[in-house]
C-alpha cells in the first residue's frame, strides 16, 4: 500500500488550538484530523466539517419501526388470524400504541448505533492508528497531511509557531482505517472570515 506522510503537533489548551486551526486552514495546509480526548464543541465547525446527518438516519429508522409495528399487527390481527376479544374491533389501534412506540424507539436506537459504527468504522477487532496514544488522555493532536507541494520544514515550523509542541513527521499506510473527511470539508471562505472580524 502507498505510504503517506503526516505532520503531527500536540496542543494542550483549547484556547491555543482554536486559533491554530483557523490559521492552519488559512495558510492552506490540509488538516487530516484532530484527535481529542473528549468532544470539543465548535471544533468541527472550526475545521469546516459539515454537520452530521445521523439525526436524519435516526428519523428514517424510527419511521420504519412505526410502519413495521402497525403494519405487522394489523396484518396479524385483522387478516391472518382474527381473534374476537369480547366483541372489540379487530382493528384496535389504540391498544397497539405501546408496542408501536416501543418498536419505533428500538428501530431508531439500534439503527442509529449501527450507522454510527459504520460511518466511523468502529467494530470489535478493528485496529486504527491515531498518531499519538496521549490523544485519548490529555492531548489534542493536530495532524496535517503532506501533499506534493508541502514543504516539510516550513510546515513543521509553522505548527510550532502556532503553539504546537512535539511536532514530528509520521508515515502511515493509506487505507480506510485512516478515515477520509476531505469530501466533507467545505472550502475555507475567506470572505466570511473577513466579515466576522
Amino acid at each position: 500500500m502507498a505510504v503517506k506522510k503526516f505532520i503531527t503537533g500536540n496542543f494542550y489548551e483549547e484556547a491555543v488550538l482554536f486559533p491554530a486551526v483557523k490559521k492552519t486552514r488559512r495558510a492552506g495546509y490540509k488538516i487530516h484530523d484532530i484527535f481529542t480526548p473528549f468532544p470539543i464543541h465548535g471544533l468541527d465547525k472550526a475545521m469546516g466539517l459539515r454537520d452530521t446527518s445521523l439525526h436524519t438516519a435516526g428519523f428514517i429508522y424510527a419511521i420504519s419501526g412505526t410502519a413495521t409495528a402497525v403494519g405487522f399487527i394489523t396484518w396479524a390481527l385483522t387478516v391472518d388470524w382474527q381473534i374476537n376479544f369480547g366483541g372489540k374491533p379487530f382493528f384496535a389501534l389504540p391498544a397497539w400504541i405501546p408496542i408501536t412506540f416501543e418498536l419505533t424507539v428500538l428501530f431508531a436506537a439500534v439503527g442509529m448505533v449501527l450507522t454510527f459504527c459504520y460511518l466511523c468504522q468502529l467494530a470489535p477487532f478493528v485496529k486504527k492508528d491515531h498518531f499519538n496514544l496521549r490523544s485519548t488522555d490529555d492531548t489534542f493532536v493536530m495532524v496535517l497531511e503532506c501533499t506534493d507541494k508541502t514543504n516539510e520544514a516550513d510546515a513543521m515550523s509553522f505548527l510550532q509557531s502556532l503553539g504546537a509542541s512535539e511536532v514530528q513527521v509520521q508515515y502511515k499506510e493509506t487505507g480506510w482505517w485512516l478515515g477520509r473527511y476531505d469530501k466533507d470539508t467545505k472550502r475555507f471562505e475567506r470572505k466570511a472570515e473577513v466579515a466576522a472580524q
Partner: protein, 484 residues
C-alpha cells in the same frame, strides 16, 4: 472561548481538587488498573454465593413449579412480580440521570451517569428473571414472541398489557445497553492506550472498537448521544407506564385506577435514586473518587429523593381519597379493610410503605441531613425497603381478598425458595456491579473532562477573577490574535 465556559459561582464545583485532564484520567483509571483489593474479593465472593443460592432456588422452582413459592390460585403474583416491578423501577434512575438530565443540560450527571446506567442494565437483567421463571414451564418462554408457529398460526395478543411489557422491557434493555456502551467506547480507548500489558491492550482494544477520538467521530458521537437521550426519555416513562398497565387495565379493586402510570413512574425514579445512593456512597469511598462524586452530587440526588418521595406520597393519598370518594364499595374495601387496617393480615405492610416512602424522606428537607453520608446510606436502604413494600401492597393486598369471599386466602407467605430467588438476584446484581467497578471506569472520563474547565474547582477560582474583570481587561488578557 473563555466566556462561553462561564458557570455561576453559586454552583459548587463538580470536580474538586487541583485537576488537569491527565489527572482526571489517572484518578479514574487507577482502580481499574490496580489489583483488586481485599474488600473487592470479599464483596465479590459474597455476591457470587448469593447468586449460587438464587440458582439453586430457581432450580427448585423449575422442578416443582410455582407452588414451590407458596403461590396459590388466589395469590398468583407474590414476591416474584413484586420483585420484578421493584427491580425494573430501580433501573429507571439510571436512564433519568443519563438521558433526561442530559436533555436538561445538568452538568452534575457526568459524575454519576456511568455507574447509574450500569445499575440500570443490571437491574433490568434482574427484573427480567422474574416474569420468565414465573412462567413455570420456562422452556416455553419463547411463546411470548410473535413468530410463525404451528398453532394456527396463532399470534400473541398484541392488545394485552403483558405483551406490551415484553416489548417495553426488551426495548428498554437494548436501548439502555446501546446508550451505555456507546458512552463507554471512548473511555475504553483511554484504557487501551494506557495499557502496559499485552493482554490488557488487546482486550480493551477489542472492547474499544478501534476508537480514535477523531473530531468527526466525536461530532457523530455527540449527535448519537443526544438522539439516544431523546429516545430514552419517553422510553423510560413508557416502560413503567406499561408495567403499571399490567395492573391498571384489570378490574381488580386496588389496581383499576388511572393514577397508576404517573404514580409508578415517580416511584420508580424514587427507588432508583435510592439505589444509586446506596451504590455510590460506597463506591466513591472504596475507589477513592470523592473528588468526582462529591457531597454536592449526593446532596442533589437527595433533593430528587425528597421530591419524588413526596410525589409518591401525594399519589398514595390521592388514590386513597379516590377510593373513598369514588363510592365503589369494592375499591373502598380494598383500601379500608385490606390496607388501612393495621391489624388485617397484610395491613402492616401498608404502614411500612407509608413510613418508609412518605415520612422518612422528609428528613432531606434539611441540608445537613442531605450531606450526611451515614444518613444518606441509611435512608437509601429504608426507601428501597419502602418501595419493595409498595409493590407488595399493590399486588398481595389487592388479590388476597377480592370479589369472591370463598376464594379469599390469607395463607400466603413466601418460602425459602421464593426469598432465595430474590436474594439470588441481589447476587446477580452485585456480581455484575463488582465486575463493572473492576474492569470499567465507573465515571465517564471524557464527560468529566468536558465539564472540567467549567466546573472544576481550580478553574472556577480563576473564573471568579474573570467575572470581576472589565470587558477591556478581559479582552486584553484572554483575547487571542485573530490575525490579519
Amino acid at each position: 472561548m473563555a466566556l462561553l465556559r462561564y458557570e455561576s459561582q453559586v454552583r459548587a464545583p463538580l470536580v474538586e481538587g487541583d485537576k488537569d485532564y491527565h489527572q482526571v484520567t489517572e484518578d479514574i483509571c487507577r482502580p481499574v488498573e490496580a489489583k483488586p483489593t481485599r474488600a473487592w474479593w470479599i464483596g465479590f465472593t459474597v455476591s457470587v454465593l448469593f447468586l449460587i443460592f438464587g440458582i439453586v432456588s430457581v432450580t427448585m422452582e423449575v422442578i416443582y413449579g410455582t407452588g414451590q413459592w407458596n403461590l396459590n390460585k388466589t395469590i398468583g403474583w407474590g414476591w416474584d412480580i413484586t420483585n420484578f416491578v421493584w427491580w425494573i423501577g430501580i433501573g429507571h434512575a439510571g436512564t433519568l440521570i443519563s438521558a433526561i438530565l442530559l436533555l436538561f443540560r445538568q452538568g452534575w450527571r457526568t459524575g454519576v451517569n456511568r455507574a447509574a446506567e450500569a445499575m440500570t442494565i443490571f437491574a433490568v437483567i434482574c427484573a427480567g428473571q422474574f416474569p420468565i421463571w414465573h412462567m413455570g414451564r420456562v422452556w416455553n418462554a419463547f411463546f411470548v414472541l410473535p413468530y410463525p408457529n404451528t398453532r394456527g398460526p396463532l399470534w400473541v395478543n398484541f392488545n394485552s398489557p403483558l405483551l406490551w411489557d415484553v416489548f417495553a422491557i426488551s426495548t428498554y434493555f437494548t436501548v439502555s445497553l446501546l446508550f451505555w456502551y456507546s458512552g463507554l467506547i471512548p473511555d475504553l480507548a483511554t484504557l487501551r492506550d494506557r495499557a502496559k500489558k499485552k493482554w490488557r491492550k488487546m482486550l480493551y482494544g477489542v472492547a474499544a472498537f478501534g476508537w480514535t477520538g477523531s473530531t468527526k467521530h466525536w461530532q457523530r458521537h455527540e449527535a448519537l448521544s443526544l438522539v439516544l437521550a431523546g429516545l430514552s426519555t419517553p422510553l423510560v416513562l413508557s416502560v413503567h407506564t406499561i408495567v403499571s398497565f399490567d395492573f391498571a387495565t384489570s378490574v381488580v379493586p386496588g389496581w383499576h385506577t388511572t393514577i397508576f402510570p404517573p404514580y409508578f413512574v415517580a416511584g420508580a425514579i424514587f427507588s432508583g435514586f435510592a439505589m444509586v445512593q446506596t451504590l455510590l456512597v460506597v463506591t466513591r469511598k472504596v475507589l477513592g473518587l470523592e473528588e468526582y462524586i462529591t457531597l454536592e452530587h449526593i446532596d442533589v440526588m437527595n433533593k430528587i429523593i425528597v421530591l419524588t418521595g413526596s410525589i409518591v406520597g401525594i399519589a398514595y393519598l390521592t388514590e386513597l381519597f379516590m377510593a373513598w370518594y369514588g363510592a365503589n364499595q369494592y375499591e373502598w374495601a380494598a383500601f379500608k379493610d385490606n390496607r388501612l387496617d393495621l391489624f388485617s393480615p397484610y395491613g402492616w405492610s401498608y404502614w411500612i410503605m407509608m413510613g418508609c416512602n412518605v415520612l422518612s424522606p422528609q428528613i432531606f428537607w434539611f441540608r445537613k441531613m442531605r450531606r450526611n453520608l451515614v444518613v444518606t446510606f441509611f435512608m437509601s436502604i429504608l426507601v428501597n425497603i419502602g418501595m419493595w413494600f409498595e409493590r407488595f401492597v399493590i399486588i398481595v393486598t389487592s388479590v388476597y381478598r377480592e370479589y369472591l369471599p370463598s376464594a379469599w386466602s390469607t395463607y400466603y407467605s413466601p418460602t425459602i425458595w421464593e426469598a432465595g430467588f430474590y436474594l439470588g438476584t441481589f447476587g446477580l446484581f452485585f456480581t455484575c456491579y463488582f465486575l463493572f467497578a473492576k474492569f470499567f471506569p465507573v465515571i465517564a472520563i471524557a464527560e468529566i473532562k468536558h465539564i472540567l474547565k467549567r466546573s472544576g474547582e481550580n478553574y472556577k477560582e480563576k473564573m471568579d477573577e474573570i467575572e470581576h474583570e472589565t470587558t477591556e481587561e478581559f479582552a486584553e488578557k484572554h483575547g487571542h490574535d485573530h490575525g490579519a
